[in-house]
């Protein structure tokens, strides 16, 4: 029986291979040289991809339940909460995987930044990565509008107001997003459209480009692959290059300093890296599932624009900007908004500003000091903002 099944599977595989070159595709996809050192750091990228896919699957499911209308949105989710245990868990997974995704993508960027992986010839990997980060943030913010409960409504009021501080076209942008001067049915429908159509339509091609560039240049280029190798240090002799295993072209057998093309030790993507990637992703998905089951996705009272007693609380990923906005007087809000916009611009330009071949984070202080400052700044603002909310 088993041998019969095996025979059928083999025949099916051969049939597919003859028509779609499955064997060569798998070989190309699975047998790629990847670095041994720093392999666990690389799992952040695959975890990001897995979480985005989880968002896609749970998001598709939620569109089957959710009604994007100001009169029905809250009711449809409230129905799910009260009568559909499975739907509630799926909604919880959608929310918590978004939170974990923001955290993991942030870590992925920080790792790439500190290890200098954005340097030549991987500038476009970095640029597409920054684009993905911004899009994921946009997905998170627009997603927060959709439940149309009190939290969603007032988040929408604040966020669409922020758009109005854009110089010259601010009022136009707010009216465009809201569908008029005030919040209303058009606001929700437009935000829903942006969340499920516009942003994914940009996001998924960009993911494709990011992955294609990753495969073109290889998972190399990070400082963690080379740490301690090749470089003479004060009082330390340069170690001799050890014997290399054979690496498929275009990777040279001996790493060259000018491109940092290949690390000292490599292994095949399958099964070594796939195991690590799989393990980290499974753990993260398990954490998301646990949070979805135990805490779930909250749903406050239905939106009430007339209320005067409700205190809006921002999403945690919005806390740094919220804290800045709380601190400055209204006249200076446009100046504060320059900070995130300028930050994104600087991130996009980073590989073109920092073109030195050095990848050691401790040997490139001109980039690391401002970078560490920016990361600490965000962490401190988040801490201060959470402290403020705790004592509201």
């Amino acid at each position: 029986m088993i041998s019969e099944l095996r025979g059928w599977a083999s025949s099916a595989y051969n049939w597919m291979d003859e028509r779609a070159s499955v064997r060569s595709l798998l070989r190309k996809g699975l047998y790629e040289a990847v670095p041994v050192r720093g392999a666990w750091f690389y799992t952040l990228g695959s975890a990001t991809l897995v979480l985005i896919l989880l968002q896609l699957v749970t998001g598709i499911f939620l569109t089957l339940l959710y009604v994007p209308s100001v009169t029905e949105a809250w009711q449809s989710l409230n129905y799910v909460r009260q009568h559909d245990a499975f739907g509630s868990i799926v909604r919880g997974i959608h929310l918590w995987s978004a939170y974990v995704l923001l955290f993991v993508i942030g870590l992925h960027m920080v790792r790439t930044f500190f290890s200098g992986s954005y340097k030549r010839p991987r500038e476009l990997n970095w640029v597409t990565g920054v684009g993905l980060f911004v899009l994921v943030l946009a997905m998170a913010i627009t997603g927060a509008f959709l439940p149309w409960d009190q939290a969603a409504y007032w988040t929408a009021v604040v966020v669409t107001n922020i758009a109005s501080y854009t110089p010259i076209i601010g009022s136009f942008l707010r009216a465009l997003w809201r569908g008029g001067d005030t919040m209303g049915p058009v606001t929700l429908v437009r935000t829903f459209g942006i969340h499920v159509w516009l942003l994914p339509a940009i996001l998924f091609p960009l993911i494709g480009a990011h992955l294609a560039l990753l495969r073109k240049h290889g998972e190399f280029g990070s400082y963690v692959n080379y740490r301690g190798a090749y470089r003479a240090r004060e009082g330390v002799e340069t170690p001799p290059a050890p014997t290399q295993r054979r690496i498929e072209p275009p990777y040279p057998a001996v790493p060259t300093d000018e491109l940092w093309a290949a690390p000292l030790e490599t292994e095949d993507f399958y099964p070594y890296q796939t195991f690590k990637d799989g393990l980290v992703s499974v753990v993260l998905v398990a954490v998301v599932f646990l949070l979805a089951v135990t805490i779930g996705a909250p749903l406050e009272e239905a939106a009430n624009p007339a209320t005067t007693s409700y205190t809006p609380v921002p999403e945690w990923f919005y806390l740094p900007l919220d804290e800045l906005l709380v601190l400055v007087p209204q006249q200076l809000i446009p100046l504060v908004l320059v900070l995130p916009a300028g930050g994104v611009a600087l991130l996009l330009l980073l590989p073109f500003i920092d073109r030195d071949a050095e990848r050691n984070p401790f040997e490139r202080p001109a980039v690391m000091i401002p970078g560490a400052f920016a990361v600490l700044f965000v962490v401190i603002l988040t801490l201060l903002g959470s402290g403020r909310l705790f004592n509201l």
């Binding site: 240090r233 004060e234 009082g235 330390v236 804290e323 800045l324 709380v326 601190l327 400055v328 007087p329 006249q331 200076l332 100046l335 401790f362 040997e363 202080p365 001109a366 000091i369 401002p370 400052f373 600490l376 700044f377 401190i380 603002l381 801490l383 201060l384 959470s386 402290g387 403020r388 705790f390 004592n391």
Partner: protein, 446 residues
């Protein structure tokens, strides 16, 4: 000294001055705590910065980092006893003597933070000495030694956080029965971040000043090179950390505004607003002196970037002038409003619109911060062209000035914070005048 008293026809009081001598008591506590903060901040900051420098040295494989970290470790072991003595003096003599009722209430409310504080203190002392005395024996086990340094940094942080719970509670009290609310009272977060970052900056500036003096006295080429580098490193570290302070400080002020409005009003718009202007001006001066040092240090070696740094220094002069403009020319905003001077001239007022506290002060702070970030980045970029040991005497004097400005800043901040709450010891709960006389009385005869 005591023998002279009869000749001067004065006598020492039989007990601590109380009741009618509030000014003397407040002055003694103010001076005592200022000295305590200056010493304790340095020790706590050293317990955090020293291990960080040792780690940096290990990662960069540069011996000068190890030498600097070792020097900081030696400093800690020398100064710990002085710091501890002053702490005990202010706690047990001044606080118990002058504000006895307050302190006994405070100990009951913040019992656990104070107990943890004491335990963290024991940990900090033990680890500081171990960290210093095992430097050479554990040279071949650097990871172990650095782990010990990491524990020292954690102990130093816990110690600061615990005492900050007490200090912040005094300004923004919460129901004392809830330990979580007590530990996370509205200003405990911002004060802890403010002080932790501040201590790290302070020790950086102190290193800069100390190394400047050592550089001026150095006799060997090796020492000159080391102290030149260490002074520059200390200043960079100090400025880098201080860059966080405007935003953290304003966040702290915002919490005070939300939860203890009277104190905030006094600090920002009332009788202390002039001192606040001085504080902001001091911050500008600190950045200005640092940028001037950066410019000169690069210029001395002809390193690239000093021309642009000179421009940034000019920008910092303008920003400092903007910050230094007084909020108003009277003592309180009410005085200004009563005189009809609180409107800009285009609305019929007479006051210089640049003198308003907000938003111009915030604008000045933003300008400081952005210019100082740019100056730090440009200086770091230019460091590849610097040869350590070539610095001039003028640069070293700038380092010493930056240390003095930092000390002035710390004392000013302490003055504003404590006087913002006065005459309350616990805001809205207990005043200075409400101290009980706890002098022992003879037991009545039966």
């Amino acid at each position: 000294m005591i023998h002279l008293l009869p000749f001067l026809d004065v006598a020492l009081p039989s007990q601590a001055p109380q009741g009618g001598n509030l000014i003397a008591a407040r002055a003694a506590i103010g001076v005592g705590f200022s000295i305590h903060i200056l010493l304790a901040g340095l020790v706590s900051g050293s317990g955090e910065l020293g291990p960080a420098i040792e780690f940096l040295g290990y990662m960069r494989q540069r011996r000068r980092y190890d030498r600097l970290a070792h020097g900081i470790a030696r400093f800690m072991t020398y100064y710990f006893s002085v710091s501890a003595t002053v702490a005990i003096l202010v706690m047990t003599v001044l606080l118990v003597g002058f504000w006895g009722h307050f302190w006994s209430v405070m100990v009951r409310i913040a019992w656990w933070p104070l107990v943890i504080e004491a335990l963290a203190f024991i940990m900090q002392v033990s680890l500081a000495y171990l960290w210093y005395y095992t430097w050479d024996p554990l040279r071949n086990f650097k990871a172990l030694h650095m782990a010990m340094g990491g524990l020292l940094a954690i102990a130093s942080f816990i110690q600061v956080y615990m005492i900050d719970i007490v200090a912040s509670y005094m300004l923004t009290p919460t129901p004392p029965s809830n330990p979580i609310r007590l530990a996370l009272n509205p200003t405990s977060y911002p004060l802890t971040v403010h002080r932790t970052v501040g201590n790290l900056a302070y020790v950086g500036f102190a290193v800069a000043g100390f190394c400047a003096i050592k550089f001026l006295r150095a006799r060997t080429v090796e020492d000159r090179a080391f102290y030149d580098w260490a002074g520059s490193f200390g200043l960079l570290w100090g400025v880098g950390m201080t860059l966080f302070q405007p935003i953290v400080g304003y966040s702290y002020a915002k919490e005070i505004q939300l939860h203890t409005y009277a104190s905030w009003y006094k600090m920002m718009r009332g009788s202390l607003s002039t001192v606040f202007v001085w504080q902001i001006t001091l911050l500008g001066l600190m950045f200005l002196v640092a940028a001037f040092y950066f410019t000169r240090r690069l210029r001395t070696d002809g390193a690239p970037g000093h021309s642009l740094l000179r421009l940034m220094t000019g920008g910092l002069v303008l920003a400092t002038l903007l910050a230094a403009l007084p909020h108003h020319l009277a003592w309180t905003l009410d005085d200004v409003a009563a005189a009809g001077l609180d409107r800009p001239f285009w609305q019929g007022g007479l006051i210089n619109p640049l003198g308003a506290m907000i938003p111009w002060k915030v604008l000045a702070l933003m300008a400081y911060t952005l210019l100082a970030i740019a100056a730090v980045t440009w200086y770091v970029r230019g460091l590849s062209g610097v040869r350590w040991g070539n610095a001039g005497r003028g640069e070293q004097r700038l380092l010493i000035v930056s240390t003095i400005l930092t000390v002035a800043m710390i004392v000013t901040m302490g003055f504003i914070r404590e006087n913002g709450r006065a005459p309350d010891l616990i805001a809205g709960q207990m005043q200075i005048q409400q101290q009980q006389d706890v002098s022992p009385q003879p037991t009545p005869a039966r």
